[in-house]
Each structure stands twice: as C-alpha cells, then as structure tokens.
C-alpha cells in the first residue's frame, strides 16, 4: 500500500481541492481509497459527491457528571479541576455542575469526590462514514463542534481506510489532511509514504511551510512541495523553490490561480472533472506524474 497525505500547515492553501483532483486522476487505477482527515472542516465530500453507505458513531473522551442528590457541596472538584470545567453554585443554590465543553475527561474529580457523587461517561463526539464515490471508497467523519479527541477520530477514519486497502493489490490511500501541526495532523500523517505539502507564495504560508516540513520530518515522513496560486507572487514562488532545492525537497509543480477551482466546488466536482483543460487541471496532472514517480 502507498499512503499519500496532503498537508499545508496554513489553512486555505488548497489541500482539499488538490486531493479531489488527484483522486480524479488516480481513480484510473481502480485501487484508490480516500480518507478525509480534516474532521473539523470535512469538505472533501463536497467535491466527491459520494453516496453514504455506512454511519458509525464515535465516542471520544469521558465527560464527568455530578449527581446532585449525592453532592454535599464541599467544592473539592472545583479545587482540583485544572480545566475550569467545574461551575461553582450560584448564591441561590448549592449544586456544583460540570461544564461539558471544558471537561477534559481526565476523571480526576471522579476519584477525588469524597461522596462518590461524580461519575463519567463516554460521550458521543461525532460520527464517521463509509461512502461510495466515483473515484473510490471514501472514509470521512464529522466531529461535533467544540469536541476534543479529533486526533483519535482521524486515527479511526484512517484505520478503517487502511483495512479497506487490504482488499486490493497495490492500493493507493489518499488522505486529505487538516491544517496546523498538532494532534490531528500528527494522526493524519502516521504511516504515510509521502506528504504532499500544498503551499502558497506568501509570508504566512512560507512561515507555516517550514513548521509543517519540520513536523513531517520529525515523524520520518518524506515531504514534497507544490505551490498553489504561484502567480500571485512570482518572487516568493522562486524563493520557495530555491529553499526546497537547497533542502533537497522534491518540487511537484506550480498551480496557477484559476477561478475554475471555485466554480467546480459549486458543481460538486474536482476541478479536472469540471474542466479537464483548465490551467489548474493541467498543472495537477503534472503534479500527479511527479507523485507517482516518487512513490
């Protein structure tokens, strides 16, 4: 199995649009499996217009709960909670309560309550899906807003996708990653053979590029870079290319600013399915060739 993860550091540099377009090309193999690891902003579905086949609920961490009848109002939970999740009683009543959103699920209050008035339960934090798309089976998820454990949900989605891959000989798994460098990113790139990093020629994206490169290397994954909307700032594009060459990072190609990318989004299609001869589509074909030769 070859596993390719699309990352960026900075958000909004075109990860999902690129993933969908690569999927459109790679679908020819008939051994393509797709995973959307950006569970906070799961948008790959919008471009692949898949049909949902299965839905599974995802329980995240624990949430504490105080039994009001057993609570003596001692305040021990408030004293020991490090996450400001215990709401002290209002002057008019005596009951302590848990703020579900702030609760980290550490269970410390459960053990510390002298009245054993606190229990915890595994809360439903989201759902994950198996869907059929024209390009291959898509594994994706929806995190409930404000939840924790998005890394765990990413791992769940990816493990299901990897299991699917075992049905094929020589499968390719394409993973649409989240922005940032933290827990869901680390979960999304675990075990990847190649990290395709989509960047832009701007000060923010370049700053974030260096952090995501350091992150994937920290975890022993080979990076390769493509530059999206390269024509917005040709000077910065050359700067990125020089930096990559000096650092021995493969350059996959440049994608020009192309309004067809946004238009294809409204049609629920990858840009190269919407208009195969558009400038972005042509550029992405070249990028896939480079990716194929690297893996």
């Amino acid at each position: 199995m070859k596993q390719i993860v699309i990352l960026s550091g900075k958000g909004g540099t075109g990860k999902t649009s690129l993933t969908a377009a690569l999927a459109h090309i790679a679908a020819d193999r008939n051994t393509l499996v797709l995973a959307d690891a950006d569970v906070d902003a799961a948008n790959l579905e919008i471009l692949l217009s898949p049909e949902k086949l299965e839905e599974h609920s995802f329980s995240g961490g624990y949430k504490a709960e105080i039994d009001q009848n057993m609570c003596s109002g001692c305040g021990r939970c408030l004293d020991i909670c490090r996450f400001n999740a215990v709401i002290p009683p209002a002057p008019s009543d005596s009951s302590y309560r848990i703020d579900r959103i702030s609760c980290e699920g550490c269970n410390s209050c459960v053990y510390q309550c002298p009245e054993n008035a606190i229990t915890s339960y595994r809360a439903v934090a989201g759902a994950w899906f198996v869907s059929r798309s024209a390009y291959g089976t898509l594994y994706h998820a929806e995190m409930k807003a404000g939840e924790e454990n998005s890394g765990k949900l990413v791992t769940t989605v990816k493990n299901a996708a990897i299991k699917k891959c075992s049905e094929f000989s020589d499968p390719v798994l394409l993973v649409d990653g989240p922005p940032g460098i933290g827990c869901p990113v680390i979960a999304s790139c675990a075990g990847a053979d190649l990290a395709v990093i989509s960047t832009e020629p701007g000060v923010s994206a370049i700053h974030d590029l260096s952090r995501i490169l350091e992150t994937v290397r920290h975890f022993g994954i080979m990076p390769a870079v493509c530059i999206n909307r390269y024509d917005i700032n040709p000077e910065k594009t050359s700067e990125i290319e020089a930096f990559c060459e000096k650092d021995g990072i493969p350059l996959l190609g440049r994608i020009p600013y192309d309004p067809n990318v946004t238009r294809s989004m409204s049609k629920g299609l990858p840009v190269n399915a919407y208009d195969p001869s558009s400038p972005a589509s042509t550029a992405i074909s070249g990028i896939w060739k480079e990716v194929s030769s690297l893996i």
């Binding site: 550091g9 909004g12 902003a41 922005p179 700053h207 909307r229 700032n233 989004m265 409204s266």
Partner: protein
C-alpha cells in the same frame, strides 16, 4: 472588550481581519489595543506587524515526576490515568510526557505522596509591541500534539484586561478544542468566511460552537466577496447573523498580504470598514 476572530475553514482571512481590527483600534487613542495570537500551531499575525519582542518564556504541561525512594509501585497512578501516560512495570515507573494532559490526578491519588509535578515544555509565549499595538503570541513546539496548554497559558498571562481596553484574539481554524479555548473568554466573535460551499459548510460548524454552545454573540465577515455564490449571505439572513462587512475579491489584496503588508497599510481606504466594525461590536456588547 475582547473580540475573537475565528473561522471554521482555514485561509479565509482571520489573521488579515485580526491585524486590521487591531490597527483600527489603535487609531486616535492613547490606549494601545492588545493583539493576542492564539493560533499557536501557525502563529502568523506577528509577521504583519513590526514587533519588537521584549520578553518570552517557555510553557507547557505539568507532568508527573516520581520519587522512587517513596514509591511502592502500587500502580494506583497508572490505574487512574485515562491517557495511559504513566505505567508501572516491576520496580520501574514509566512516564510518557507527550501523552500527559497535566490533570494532576496521579499525584493526587498517590498514597505515598511520591509524585511531584514538573513542567514539560511544549511551547513558548512571547510579547512585545510595534509602538501602537501591544502584542503577545503563543508558539507550539514542532512535534507536540497539544496546542491547548500553550493557548491557556497565553490567555492566563494576558487576559483579563480592564474593560476599557480592546483585545483582539486571532484563533486557529476549525471548531475543536483549540478554538474553544481561544474564544471562550471573549465578548464577541467575528467569524470570517468566504462565499463558497467550503466556506458555508465550515461557517455552519463555527456558528454551532460559538453561538449555540458557547453562547457568544457573533457576526460574519465575508472575504473574497464575488468568488462564489450568495448562499453564505442567505444563511446569515436565515440565522439572523449580522454581516459585519464584505471584503471584495481583489488581487491587489492577495499580492500585498503575500508580501506581509497589512491590508490597512496597503489600502488605507479600508480603515472606515474596520472602524465601523469596531463600533458595531462595541455597541452590541455594551462596552
């Protein structure tokens, strides 16, 4: 008044808006606004201001350190740890710092009082000023999974401020724990989106967390207006979400920002837009 700038989708212009609000708030007042960059995974707002950093310190998570002379290897610490960050094997105690959330439960339950807590460094907070805006940011170290402790120490150190001053918070994209941590203490949230299906999908998730769950009043800025369709606007009308401003799709803006020039420096004609957003928000929150 604390205004947080958030978005579900990344790259919609949070940093552009946060920096513009800070610059607008610094106009015609001697009270310097404070800009807090809480996007600790990718802290970029400082790139658009000429900040002279005056101090900084490491921060992180409190992790257990076991005194083996007192430890009886009873294993109670590992029983209570839901993160599997501490394990007892024979006469050894293994601590996995990167898994520890710093809840302190192990140290509280240890019957021998053998566990002390020490800081495991996962990031850094720094502050400075460009002369008219006070600035502070958190930076998560590369390879670390948890941004929240860095965000919370940044906020603990710099919030709350007196009500009279303006604080602008730049948050990370998404809708999960780092966003909740960054925006929870604010009086108002400005949600930045773009008029596309991606922008709309992720705006809905952001509204769910900010308005429905955290009960913080919010308004929307539509950036790159003109690139997509009117669905975002229709959604805002249906949900009764005020549209604070629309920033048109303008290649000049993209080019300026790519060179690190703030919107209001490169195109001062946008100053009125942000001054009026500030007064709308101030009226709304009554501060």
């Amino acid at each position: 008044m604390v205004i947080a700038v958030a978005s579900g989708k990344g790259g919609t212009g949070k940093t552009t808006v946060a920096v513009s609000l800070a610059i607008a708030a610094s106009e015609g007042t001697s009270a310097k606004p404070l800009l807090l960059d809480c996007d600790v995974e990718e802290p970029n707002s400082g790139l658009f201001l000429d900040i002279e950093y005056s101090s900084g310190r490491d921060t992180g998570v409190l992790v257990p350190e076991v005194n083996l002379e007192k430890c009886t290897f009873c294993g109670r610490c590992s029983e209570v740890c839901v993160w599997n960050a501490i394990a007892v094997a024979g006469s050894k105690v293994l601590v996995f710092n990167d898994l520890c959330h710093g809840c302190g439960s192990c140290s509280l339950v240890c019957p021998e009082g053998a566990i002390e807590e020490v800081t495991h460094v996962t990031g850094r907070i720094e502050n400075g000023t460009d002369g008219s805006i006070d600035f502070a940011r958190g930076i998560l170290n590369v390879g670390q999974a948890m941004p929240v402790p860095v965000i919370s120490s940044l906020l603990k150190e710099y919030l709350p401020k007196p009500d009279s001053s303006t604080v602008i918070i730049d948050s990370s994209p998404g809708t999960s724990c780092p966003v909740v941590e960054a925006v929870s203490g604010s009086d108002y949230v400005v949600l930045v989106t773009e008029p596309t299906p991606f922008g709309l999908h992720d705006l809905k998730a952001a509204v769910d967390v900010v308005v429905n769950q955290l009960k913080i009043p919010a308004g929307v800025i539509i950036n790159r207006d003109g690139i997509g369709n009117s669905d975002v606007e229709k959604y805002c009308h249906t949900e009764n979400l005020p549209i604070l401003a629309k920033i048109p799709m303008d290649r000049r803006i993209a080019e300026m920002l790519s060179n690190g020039i703030p919107l209001l420096t490169g195109l001062p004609e946008y100053m009125d837009m942000f001054t009026s957003i500030l007064s709308t928000v101030r009226e709304e929150v009554g501060k």
